[in-house]
Symmetry: C2
């Protein structure tokens, strides 16, 4: 029986993970659930999965749930609560917190869990450098859950890394792939959130449409598998069925495929090295299946290259880019700025940040905070609402 901690249980990934546990109670039990503020859903999850610990980040919401809690459940809340919750020991921890908030729980819990199933890519995007040696030594077990990186994890188990020439990450291209530059100027929140293949959280859906998400995945690939940036490429693949390819030195490629449903890679991260999928209806079928592959229109989606440039420079650059992205997306989702202002916010922070060494979590939080303030300042001049 494996004890599972879920960081972010009411989000899309958290709910999918619980769906898997629901179908295999003999092998998995829920040790703890952490949520930001959706206490209604948390309440249902508590009643169904009987965790021993819960954590509510939002203190006001924590107060509200306290009276409904079964006696046996211990409640953590607020910043300190997140730290205490992160100190729990687990067999599997699913880290699925949106944004940079995942950083501290990851840093604490990675020493307490036997397996970190990692969704929160910011852990690597802004903190990759800090865990680089731990990953290299294999002294921590991280299984990436993000479909493309999960596919790479599987493919890299196969091959001699020294014989790999190039890595291809696929990108659906998000909701706006075929929009012209002119059309991109008028894009609404609704347009952006209509992702063609994946049902995901709001931030990652916006990041998919700007290809910022794909830039972040290139960074995950770099840090998790130790691959040089010049050997990682992105290819547009509309159907989200092929997730990644390895091209070998002899021009032979290996690809990893599954239907675009996150239950598959989550399940992989739970059962590995066994292979089992406790849920039906996720069959891949070759019947009249067309798979298309195209180059990225880099001129129309310039953020991919900005993110990749920040990745190559490293240190504080990816941190400020991520922060500007988070802030700008929040503004956009609230209708305060236009879609292309996300571009401008990221361009602005990238161009106005000098490189500084990053040596600790505190350094990361410093640059994150700095960039948030700077980006808010910048966006205030652009407000439409």
């Amino acid at each position: 029986m494996k004890k599972v901690l879920i960081f972010g249980s009411t989000g899309s990934i958290g709910r999918n993970a619980l769906e898997i546990i629901r179908h295999d109670r003999n092998n998995f039990s829920v040790l703890g659930l952490l949520v930001n503020k959706n206490i209604e859903l948390l309440n249902q999850q508590i009643r169904e999965f009987h965790p021993r610990y819960v954590c509510v980040v939002d203190e006001a919401k924590a107060e509200k749930i306290r009276e409904y809690l079964p006696k046996k459940v211990k409640l953590f809340y607020g910043k300190d609560g997140v730290r205490e919750f992160s100190l729990l020991s687990s067999d599997i921890s699913l880290m699925a917190i949106v944004g940079i908030s995942s950083l501290e729980p990851f840093a604490i819990n990675i020493k307490r869990t036997k397996r970190m199933a990692l969704v929160s890519k910011e852990v690597l995007v802004v903190g990759g450098k800090l865990w680089k040696n731990l990953i290299k030594d294999n002294s921590i077990e991280i299984i990436p859950v993000d479909s493309e990186i999960n596919a790479l994890f599987q493919l890299f188990k196969f091959v001699d890394k020294n014989q790999v020439k190039k890595i291809y990450l696929t990108a659906s291209g998000g909701a706006l792939l075929n929009y012209s530059k002119r059309e991109l100027e008028k894009v609404t929140v609704r347009d952006v959130l209509s992702h063609p293949t994946w049902g995901m959280g709001e931030r990652i859906t916006v990041d998919s449409s700007t290809l910022v998400n794909k830039g972040f995945e290139v960074m995950e690939t770099h840090y998790l598998f130790g691959i040089d940036y010049q050997n990682i490429d992105v290819v547009i693949h509309r159907e989200s069925s092929a997730h990644a390819f390895l091209e070998m030195r002899d021009n032979i490629l290996f690809g990893c495929f599954y239907v675009p449903d996150m239950k598959i890679p989550i399940s992989f991260s739970f059962y590995y090295p066994k292979r089992f999928l406790p849920i039906r209806g996720l069959d891949f079928s070759f019947e009249s299946r067309d798979l298309s592959f195209n180059q990225v229109r880099r001129n129309d989606f310039p953020l991919l290259d900005i993110v990749l440039s920040s990745a190559r420079i490293g240190e504080n650059l990816p941190i400020v880019v991520n922060a500007a992205d988070e802030v700008a997306i929040n503004y956009f989702l609230k209708g305060r700025i236009k879609f292309l202002h996300i571009h401008r916010a990221i361009e602005n922070i990238f161009n106005s940040t000098k490189k500084h060494k990053v040596r600790s979590l505190d350094d990361i939080f410093f640059w994150d905070n700095w960039a948030r303030l700077k980006t808010e300042e910048f966006l205030k001049k652009l407000l439409v609402n």
Copy 2:
């Protein structure tokens, strides 16, 4: 320096293999070349590659080449010559003889070579049962060169076989894929030989268009990897870029891809376990690459199911089916029968053969001969020319 024997050096595969050796003289030398009767090309190959041994199956042709041979080259010829040539010891033997003639050289040389790079699928189609235990024990090294089976060989090196649910072999569908039943009745030799993606020998090109070839590959898969027939499926893939897929128990698939050029799998079979391709210009590109996958129209291409039925029955059935196929294709290529008469010849032999145990090469040759005579008898009634 690896010593290479090439059985069938003037065919399409043999020429491609020599092209690889031409580009890597430091690692490979040609020990011997065997041809059926193309002595003009053999002569050129001798002058370029300086083999110590050559073998010409056709005795009359052997006489003609004798006077031109450099003194150091030993000539074998005829049936006995093939046997003696097959007794040579090599580091790599490339078995690329068309049809059942490959059987005896394989049986002899498999004990003399360190690595059998196998193209001649009849070795497994008609003789699979005889080598089953040797393959299972890993007491012989066979690397399949045929692109689909080669892809499977590579994929199976990756995975735990017990976790594989299903195998997909791709089929280009050959030249006649989109012909209606009515159009198939009027097909000419030229139509059939216009293969859309692969440049190959004549017999395999016809076998591709009837899907008999794909049925034979299913048998190769069964014998080489010990997979039940019910777990092997065929999928039409027009672009011949994806060669095979493994579907795992958790609905995750792995695929193997390369441009349709036999130099790639031949090279793989030469360098394995290293990966190297000494020839340029065979890059796989994702730029605007569409890959299509479709079901086989089994009603219009009934030979696939007949071949698979003969495979499931086993023993002498695949032998007689292969023999009828070889005879009928010869008749068709000479313009003596219509294309659909190939179907009828195979149906006829399948329906009129009772199952008998096969225990030896002699048994195989008996049934092969029996079926050839019977098929010629049958086809004589259908002659158009």
